[in-house]
């Protein structure tokens, strides 16, 4: 199972847990399973009615930026972070 690091401001959804483990072969499955286990993540992470990450959130899988359309593959030992997207007109 992939290891998900929950940002402190989303830990209200996980009962305070900082690290959780979720099954999934790609990011879509990960987020679907995350939503099942801890309802509310989809609303926090995805643009309404889409399978796209909100532009102000960045997903990192094993230190690499994931694509917003969530097609990136996830391994059993992957580490996933949700971070504020770097903005400021870079």
């Amino acid at each position: 199972m992939a290891t998900i690091y929950i940002p402190s401001l989303m830990r209200d959804l996980t009962g305070g847990k900082e690290i959780i483990h979720i099954e999934g072969a790609d990011m879509r499955q990960i987020i679907a399973n995350l939503e099942t286990a801890y309802p509310g993540f989809k609303q926090r992470l995805l643009e309404e009615g889409t399978q796209r990450i909100k532009p102000n959130i960045a997903v990192m899988i094993d230190g690499r930026n994931a694509r917003r359309i969530l097609l990136d593959k996830v391994n059993e030992d992957s580490e996933i972070h949700f971070l504020p997207a770097i903005s400021g007109g870079i």
Partner: protein, 758 residues
């Protein structure tokens, strides 16, 4: 052959665009002349915060020579939604309102109307004839004041968001986020030394020499062409498409040479206005900003407030760190506080960390990127606290940094784990440098001298999308089309990577930066991504050419393609030594075996493969009577991964240092009580010149980036990060007084010394 075993990479060929630039032949925005060209000007707000009650353009429209006047009512009304435009995350409604104010003006200099006339003088006269009725509102320009309850509210409908979740609080705080790792309280309890300090930094501009410009032609078929100075032609195309609500296929952006950008030439300002004026008149319309318009109407980097606390054990191990970071976003949300938070403790391995970031709207221009956006503010705080801890522990500040330095496997404070990086290597190179090992002689003129060091980090963005299109000439040279605008020698650095891959000389590649109709989507030149990301595409293009040339050789030699090898620039058939030829030799015949040889490649690497680290050493001399700080010697050490063109790496390092010195010692937007910038010219906004500084010495460290075929790391951003902190530490070394407010200008230094007996 360069020292790194490459033939081209690591050498210093003359840049491809050099002759055009030094002879004045290169075409910049101001050079554009078109038949029937009209000239535009902008009416700007005199108030930092006001409601627009009415705009009367009738007198301007009646003025002889005026051809059109536009306001925000001529722009489509845009939904309040975020869009990812390349590497920029933009609220489209805010972007539109920043181009032409709708309802309210939010900073002095905010554009409210545009005029097109037969010449610039008439356009400027007409601007004065536009009557705007304002209801002046209270304003706020300081970040902490803007966060207070009861502060003037810029956006009455804006509520604070936390990691995508909107709260119920209407506030100037657009966003609050937090990174937390371990238990900081426990970490501080373990520490023998704990230092907590507060810092402020001021608004600073990128100071590019060439001002913003745009020439637009909206033709009868609805096709819009923009000639402009930009870091990202495709980003401009996307912004135009969204702001004007028109298909991207109807917009063509022609990027011209760029006289400096440093992050400030990604957002559009004039382009949509010029487009509207062109649509209205049927003529091309050219607009160019004055310097004061650049200062007051475009995006600087933010002022900020930071509180940093760090703790270490008596044996010199960092145990915990916390940071409170409040950055000014300017008129609309989107400061680089997120980037600053990702950098603030990243040169260190600290087990317990908490970082709180706040993005705060104030009545100043919407901030924009500036070299390693957000990181310089952050490093100013962290690196001076680290200096103070080192002093308290009685250890050398660079040895302390080596001992606590981040390395492969270290978890960043914002979560991810570092891949192979060169943090410790750069610090060790600084420690062992001739500069640091030398002693600093005392001043013989009554002044005092000191030495300071500081480190810095920048992510380097994730490669991004790049496209390259090449065609091989019969003489074996290559025309290379790219979408990356060249702001720092990237024509050369990308061409060199292609040349290296296929065994040619850099001069055999002819690079051209082309318009958005002529090449595939390419992300902005920014975030230190281009030599990495578009270089990645250049390598892939070379590989594609090798495959194609093997196919051609296979036909010419009547042998299987998979039995042809390519090594040291020569194709050869394994079973017959006579069947061999260099790339150039084959190129002369290849067209006969399948037509012209061309290749198009696009790439989108998964990540930048770890960021860039730098450590700087500076010697200063201070006049205690005047507070003036002179730089005696400055050495910048930086990990470049692999230096493709060492001269341009050194140039980026030196340029970043100079801008960081300006930020540290002199530069700031000075506002009066009316919320108006009082120093909007290069006479009054003090940037360093060649007369102020010695030659900046450079030491390039090469820890190859495992995510790039040649080991490249971006180099353009991180050199601006350490200078203010290194200078503050040097000033302390000289005077015994710590300065925690930027800039450390003569009045501030003199005052601090007087107050502290330094």
């Amino acid at each position: 052959m360069s020292q790194n075993g490459h033939k081209v990479i690591g050498t210093r060929p003359i840049r491809h665009d050099g002759v055009d630039k030094v002879t004045g032949r290169a075409i910049y925005g101001a050079d554009i002349q078109l038949t029937g060209l009209l000239h535009g000007a902008i009416k700007r707000s005199p108030h930092p915060h006001a409601r627009i009650k009415n705009i009367d353009t009738s007198r301007a429209e009646a003025h002889p020579g005026v051809r059109a006047v536009v306001t925000a009512h001529d722009l489509p009304q845009i939904a309040d939604k975020l869009a990812d435009l390349g590497e920029a995350i933009v609220n489209l409604r805010d972007a539109s309102n920043n181009v032409l104010a709708y309802g309210k003006v939010l900073y002095k200099g905010h554009a409210v109307s545009g005029v097109a006339a037969i010449n610039l003088h008439v356009a400027q006269e007409a601007v004065e004839l536009i009557d705007v009725e304002y209801e002046v509102l209270p304003h706020v320009t300081g970040v902490l004041e803007a966060m207070e309850d009861g502060a003037p509210i810029l956006h009455e409908d804006m509520k604070t968001t936390s990691m995508g979740e909107e709260t119920d609080k209407v506030s100037n705080v657009a966003n609050h986020f937090q990174h937390k790792m371990g238990e900081p309280d426990d970490g501080f309890a373990e520490a023998d030394v704990v230092i907590e300090r507060e810092f402020t930094t001021q608004t600073v501009h990128q100071g590019y020499i060439e001002t913003h410009n745009a020439t637009a032609h909206w033709n009868e078929e609805g096709q819009l062409t923009i000639w402009t100075s930009t870091q990202g032609a495709f980003s401009v195309r996307d912004q135009m498409s969204e702001i004007l609500q028109m298909p991207v296929s109807k917009v063509k952006i022609v990027p011209l040479e760029i006289g400096g950008g440093f992050g400030g030439k990604i957002s559009v300002y004039l382009d949509p206005v010029a487009a509207l004026l062109s649509k209205r008149t049927g003529h091309p319309v050219k607009m160019t900003m004055t310097r004061d318009e650049v200062f007051e109407g475009t995006g600087p980097t933010p002022g900020s407030y930071l509180k940093v606390k760090m703790g270490a054990t008596s044996d010199g191990r960092l145990t915990a760190a916390t940071a409170y970071m409040a950055y000014e976003a300017g008129a609309y949300p989107g400061s680089p506080v997120g980037a600053g938070a990702g950098c603030i403790f990243t040169p260190y391995d600290i087990p317990n960390v908490q970082i709180d970031g706040y993005d705060v709207c104030v009545n100043k221009p919407k901030t924009n990127a500036y070299r390693a956006p957000g990181a310089t503010n952050a490093a100013y705080a962290t690196e001076t606290v680290v200096d103070e801890i080192s002093e308290k522990l009685g250890v050398d500040p660079l040895e302390f940094r080596v001992k606590n330095g981040a390395k492969e496997g270290t978890r960043r404070a914002d979560g991810p784990v570092h891949p192979r990086i060169g943090c410790i290597e750069t610090t060790e190179a600084a420690l062992n440098s001739e500069h640091y090992r030398s002693s600093l002689a005392k001043s013989g003129n009554g002044k005092v001298r000191g030495r300071g060091v500081a480190s810095g980090y920048w992510f380097n963005f994730n490669g991004g999308r790049s496209a390259i299109s090449v065609s091989i000439n019969p003489d074996g040279t290559i025309n290379m089309l790219e979408g990356s605008t060249d702001i720092g020698g990237t024509r050369a650095s990308i061409a060199m990577q292609l040349a290296e891959t296929i065994g040619l000389e850099a001069t055999d590649i002819k690079p051209y930066v082309v318009d958005t109709d002529s090449i595939g989507y390419t992300d902005v030149t920014g975030g230190s991504r281009t030599t990495f990301g578009t270089g990645y595409a250049a390598h892939a293009t070379g590989q594609a050419l090798i495959r194609e040339m093997k196919e051609r050789a296979s036909k010419l030699w009547d042998v299987p393609a998979d039995a042809i090898d390519f090594e040291d620039g020569v194709f050869s058939y394994r079973d017959d030594a006579e069947k061999r030829g260099s790339f150039k030799e084959l190129a002369s015949q290849a067209g006969d075996a399948g037509g012209p040889v061309v290749a198009q490649v696009s790439t989108n690497p998964d990540g930048s493969g770890g960021g860039a680290f730098a450590t700087h050493v500076v010697d200063v001399e201070i006049d205690r009577e005047t507070g003036k700080v002179d730089i005696l010697r400055y050495t910048a050490v930086q990990d470049a991964g692999t230096a493709i063109h060492p001269s341009y790496v050194e140039g980026q390092m030196q340029g970043g240092v100079v801008q960081g010195i300006g930020w540290g010692l002199n530069e700031e937007y000075i506002y009066n009580d009316e919320g108006s910038m009082t120093n909007a010219s290069f006479l009054d906004y003090r940037m360093p010149t060649t007369l102020d500084l010695p030659m900046i010495e450079t030491i390039i460290v090469e820890v190859p980036n495992e995510s790039h075929p040649y080991g490249v790391r971006g180099v353009g951003e991180v050199p601006i990060v350490p200078p203010p902190a290194a200078l503050a530490n040097a000033i302390y070394d000289a005077t015994g007084v710590r300065l925690r407010d930027l800039p450390m200008s003569p009045p501030r230094v003199q005052k601090a010394l007087a107050e502290n007996g330094g």
